[in-house]
Chain length 333, copies 2
């Protein structure tokens, strides 16, 4: 079975761990979000790709969900001693090694997809991990300077300003209102080699419970990817990242507000749209939402959606695959 | 008192520590060798500049003489896990931070001299540290492929080949015969801003017991620096790195052979030449060399030249300054 998964960071990576447990023989291609990529200290950092790679390669710090286990923090101490900014983004020494190797390879002319493949030669994630694009896309968030604690001199209160997604998410913990989400560079981005072919040849396409705006939404924004998904023969089944009106983890509500979407399992399904989704899974506690999703033309089931451990996550993956098989059998695609 | 010191790595740095102890009020400018610079993992590494900076800034690993104290080695482990070469050059995590900051600043357009000044703002070495040049100079060593254990397929035995100085020095531990020393790029290199002015305005110029070929020799090879030293009003006094016919530390004999200079305190003095040197200090055990050096037109004294601790080194520095004062008083310059 050929499965394509669109993935963000922690949520996507944990879902993939469950999917591999559920379907160890499956041929899984992961299209990874690169909209949260950032250049720090002259190095190219790809948080979502790395979270997937480290998680599936058994190198992740399981408690925090990102970064490396057995990490050391010497470089962070040194950067502080040198007074070099930013200090708010947590890069450990082992993690730095990945970014140094990546930056060196990209400097030598290799595209991100080739670099990711080379890094995965070590990590052996058991999936094919492809960035959504080899072109640089960096998501920015439009905020109001009046809400920025460190508003710089010259910023007039009431002025809108675009800041890097990581600054919004990590430094400011999504506290200021997000007025718009701007994936800078996306209009000119092309899907990375292999992305469209994997979608076209897939038996099943899954949206894990990743952030629908800044993770899956960004991937869908790369010209050509949404169309390929709509035209794919494979059913597209998604799992709601919203349970009981709140994000399971993270601060997805903040960015859903920015795109005018309510923080609910129903609203996210409608946001993706019936043209894209062939099935939607909501949490058991949202069972009363099933009818509303189906009214919108999207088959829907309610199952437990908390990724508490690999077994629970594998059960979610199985439910998604079962739903895809049903949809297909019913000729829904 | 304005003192200019031409310095290589460990020997130069230790001498400078003694000089600062001997003359805490002196205005010291260090012209640092950059011929042993190397690009590793996409990062600009300046071993000699950093050894001076870390040593005088109390950040050096005193036992090994290079690298940082309280160092961690996570990145080295990661590079080995990624299979990324080279593995023979020892870069610790704290050291990496320096190279990352340097590389980022140079990528932003700052010349090496400005970057070095910025790094020294943290380390406060108590001297003004200037690279010999902002232009890239990387010393190479011509060897015979027959002597290389890892001679690559296609290398015919008996073929001469230029390898990077660090590969010769660190990886091969100077075991193969050096047929020539080639400071690549030196013809086009210009002295860094401030170097010529410091030499012109100095009261004393010192050559520490650094390597006369690949450290001081390289600095002298930057067009304009030797002439400035010859024309300087200040006396130039050197300390022999050769004691009893052997280098005090390191493998200077290997590179002296390459330039046709015998490994002796006399031969090194003659190699610098009476046009350049106004005084030369040899070790007490080489007291019988004094006459030969003076016959070559260079005033010479024999004193203990082992830098066993800061006090012994300070005594050497005092002797060099005393000799400079005598030479000056005698109208030798």
């Amino acid at each position: 079975m050929r499965i394509v998964v669109l993935a963000g960071g922690i949520g996507g990576a944990r879902f993939l761990r469950g999917l591999k447990a559920a379907e160890p023989q499956a041929d899984i291609t992961v299209v990874g979000n690169t909209g949260d990529d950032i250049h720090l200290f002259g190095l190219k950092v790809c948080p979502d790709l790395d979270t997937v790679m480290y998680t599936l390669g058994e190198g992740i710090n399981d408690e925090q969900g990102w970064g490396r286990r057995d990490e050391t923090w010497s470089i962070r101490e040194e950067m502080a001693a040198y007074g070099v900014e930013p200090t708010w983004f947590g890069l450990g020494d082992r993690d730095y090694a990945t970014h140094i190797v990546r930056t060196q390879m990209m400097g030598a002319g290799y595209p991100l997809s080739a670099v990711t493949e080379a890094l995965c030669a070590r990590w052996k994630p058991g999936v094919r991990l492809i960035p959504m694009s080899d072109d640089r896309v960096e998501t920015h968030v439009v905020v109001d300077t009046a809400e920025l604690a460190d508003a710089v001199a010259g910023d007039r209160p009431g002025t809108r300003k675009a800041i890097h997604f990581q600054e919004y998410w990590v430094k400011l913990r999504a506290a200021p209102t997000a007025y718009a989400i701007v994936p800078v560079g996306i209009e000119e981005a092309k899907p990375a080699p292999g992305v469209l072919a994997a979608i076209a040849e897939a038996d099943v396409i899954l949206f894990p419970p990743s952030n629908p705006v800044v993770s899956i939404g960004t991937i869908l924004g790369v010209p050509g990817i949404r169309d390929a998904l709509v035209e794919a023969e494979a059913p597209v089944v998604g799992l709601s990242p919203i349970v009981g009106g709140a994000p399971v983890r993270g601060m997805a509500d903040k960015v859903l507000d920015a795109v005018g979407v309510e923080t609910s399992a129903v609203a996210v399904a409608k946001h993706y749209g019936p043209g894209l989704l062939d099935g939607w899974l909501v949490d058991s506690t949202d069972a009363d939402s099933v009818a509303a999703v189906e009214e919108a033309g999207i088959p829907c089931r309610a199952i437990p959606l908390m990724m508490t451990d690999v077994e629970a996550t594998a059960a979610m993956a199985r439910a998604a695959l079962d739903m895809a098989a049903e949809v297909r059998a019913e000729g829904g695609v």
